[in-house]
Symmetry: C2
Subunit: 417 residues, 2 copies
């Protein structure tokens, strides 16, 4: 089964939004062993959409469309497919009821253009929309499958998960299983990592090894194909072992995990609580940890001490330290970490101070960063970094360094906390 994903929407071609729908669907399809060889994006234009369909038909036996199912004049995906395949559009009674119900639930007035959304391709299986109005569809014509999904990710994703995937699994023939595993590394560059394992990359055919660098991290994707999932997993595990014997000290987790997620897991396992003082990162660390559901188990809170005066007034960094060493200094990072831990009565205090840019501060260069770490019963640690890149990039990587520092510190001291 080879799939192509066609996203319909002029907003994509104008760069108003990124095609995150193709990303989501690709990940899901890879999980069930469906190859995706192409993504296409086309505007709200019937002629060009028709051309894109013809190209896709020449190279895929499953075409998944996202977008263009809404109520407005420029939503024309199902109309174009209907005309291309010579199919009619009929009102689906369930979809119409569901649309009416949606307006009742959200206490809004139903406008006439919403009725158009209940039109579906004749002969198609309707996929209910539990988070919006436009229903999805699956249609088989001449041994080719056409799936139509709505554009808004918050409607498309749950629809695919609840109904779309099952529809595809029912079509799949038994075949080789594809298993993928992503190994995540922090603290090593892509070129160096690849050089360390170059011979493995060259000689490996099954699994394949694909490196990728993003946001200061490097990942290796191992993909194996075998008769059963178990056999494929065995191949992956053997290769993983070889890789980690060489660069294991930079490895931190699998697949879609993150440094923050791993840190959260480790804190939860050890029943430790955390407090945070942020200057240059302005709340980014705390925002990330609290985006994890259940954060309250380990995270108590913290202080965003953005203005220098707040470091003294709220977090009691000595005025002398700020005057002599500066707000961006090892001494300030230490006091921030220790004092936020004490103020919030947490087991661990972590602090971030530095220069995010675009201009220098206190005569210190952009990218100079100090991370402080105060753990109950241990001497306070501080790490100095010199990061390159934009303001946003420096902030993101500062938070990652903080996660890695605390994570390694916890793992190194198996029994002391």
């Amino acid at each position: 089964m080879n799939a192509e994903i066609i996203a319909v929407g002029s907003e994509l071609l104008l760069g108003q939004i990124a095609n995150t729908n193709a990303q989501f669907l690709s990940k899901q399809l890879a999980n069930i062993g469906v190859n995706v060889f192409y993504h296409t994006v086309v505007g709200d234009n019937s002629g060009r959409l028709k051309q894109a369909i013809e190209v896709a038909e020449s190279r895929a036996n499953m075409i998944i469309f996202t977008g263009g199912l809404g109520p407005t004049k420029d939503d024309l995906t199902k109309e174009t497919i209907a005309s291309h395949l010579g199919r009619g559009l009929i009102h689906d009674e369930d979809a119409l009821k569901s649309i009416e119900q949606f307006f009742v639930t959200t206490k809004r007035v139903m406008t006439e253009n919403n009725r158009k959304q209940a039109l579906v391709l004749e002969g198609s299986q309707v996929l209910p929309n539990d988070h919006g109005m436009a229903p999805g569809m699956v249609l088989e014509v001449k041994e080719r499958t056409y799936m139509l999904l709505p554009g808004p990710p918050k409607e498309m994703q749950p629809m695919y998960t609840a109904y779309g995937e099952t529809a595809i699994l029912n079509l799949l023939q038994p075949q080789d299983k594809i298993v993928s595993r992503v190994l995540r590394f922090f603290g090593i560059g892509e070129s160096l990592l690849e050089t360390e394992i170059e011979d493995l990359i060259d000689e490996q055919q099954n699994p394949t090894i694909a490196p990728l660098a993003a946001d200061g991290e490097v990942t290796l994707r191992l993909t194996a194909k075998e008769k059963t999932e178990e056999l494929a997993n065995q191949l992956i595990e053997a290769t993983e072992k070889k890789i980690l014997s060489r660069v294991g000290q930079y490895f931190y987790g699998y697949d879609s995990t993150s440094l923050m997620q791993e840190l959260f897991n480790e804190l939860q396992k050890r029943e430790l609580t955390l407090a945070c003082a942020e200057s240059l990162t302005g709340g980014l660390f705390q925002q990330e940890i609290t985006s994890i559901s259940g954060a309250g188990d380990v995270f108590k809170g913290g202080v965003v001490c953005y203005a220098t005066e707040i470091k003294n007034r709220v977090l009691h960094v000595k005025q002398e330290t700020l005057d002599t060493e500066g707000a961006v200094s090892s001494a300030t990072a230490i006091e921030l970490a220790e004092n936020v831990r004490e103020l919030l009565q947490a087991d661990i205090g972590i602090s971030f101070t530095g220069v995010a840019g675009p201009t220098e501060q206190e005569g210190k260069p952009v990218g100079m960063v100090f991370v402080g770490l105060a753990i109950a019963g241990r001497p306070t640690e501080v790490v100095q970094l010199q990061l390159a890149g934009t303001r946003a990039g420096i902030r993101v990587r500062t938070v990652k360094h903080g996660c890695a520092l605390l994570l390694n510190s916890l793992k190194d001291s198996q029994n002391t906390i």
Copy 2:
């Protein structure tokens, strides 16, 4: 000039990353009047890339490639194009020097595979890479333009901005100017907005009006085509006036601005300082305002009072309030806003408390949110919201409501602060 953007990379087809490069380039190309009719994504596979090039050649006279220029075995964009066009690859001396210099600057050891990156298509104009190693290229063959850009956004974006755009502008013939303007709305749904201006959407051909909903906001993109930029702007302004006479109360800004940016501008103009107390949003509001360069002019800092005890210990919300009304309550939001303002000695205190989910809290439902607003010399305001959606969505929209509330509050009181 009709362009197609081809992104090369199996990581895109596996859903590891979204195609943000196509988004960036589309936005830039629209700004200079180049139509983008298709995006294509293809994997690290020479045969399928060749097929994608042939399809693109049938429908575009400019093809822009991103990705596949790196040092590794699966980087094969320029090799495939060279073979397809019958061109040689030659070492570019400047690029080679620049790659060697990159390793000197970053104090890393140059590995042999990096030398491959200095190979360029014979006869092409080389685009220097100031943020990485792989150079870009522009090549004209049979009245068709091929542009090759690296995959990492932090290399691709500055290369396009500094060198790529100029190369394209030099190719463009004088022609009609296309001008786009985006109007941004908050507090009104897409269907209702469209119904309010349906007659305008139907009758307008120039400019066209395209609505789009995302993250709780609705935008209208007006696009006009005229002999000069000035004439196109006049058309847009006349239509904008009609639209705002109907739904102007929900309008907050133009193009790529955000509610937070508008709030920042307003605070800066009035020379007001802000402090923030965050519970359910966990630092998101503060992270967003500090992501704006110059945030220090208006933002002093704040407290992430995630655990209930921190609301009392650090922000002195009365224990009685927490016991009788709860942490998620109008009374707590008021005390948080007033106390964070006082603790940080700011002109304004804003607070967020509520239930982000996935489970209810204190018997209060997911999505119940209180935003408190304490402005010097005025009675403290509090707004209760009931939001739907995921944990992440509730947090994002809570912050937007906070921005809109404070922004409107400031604008309503022209002379009182």
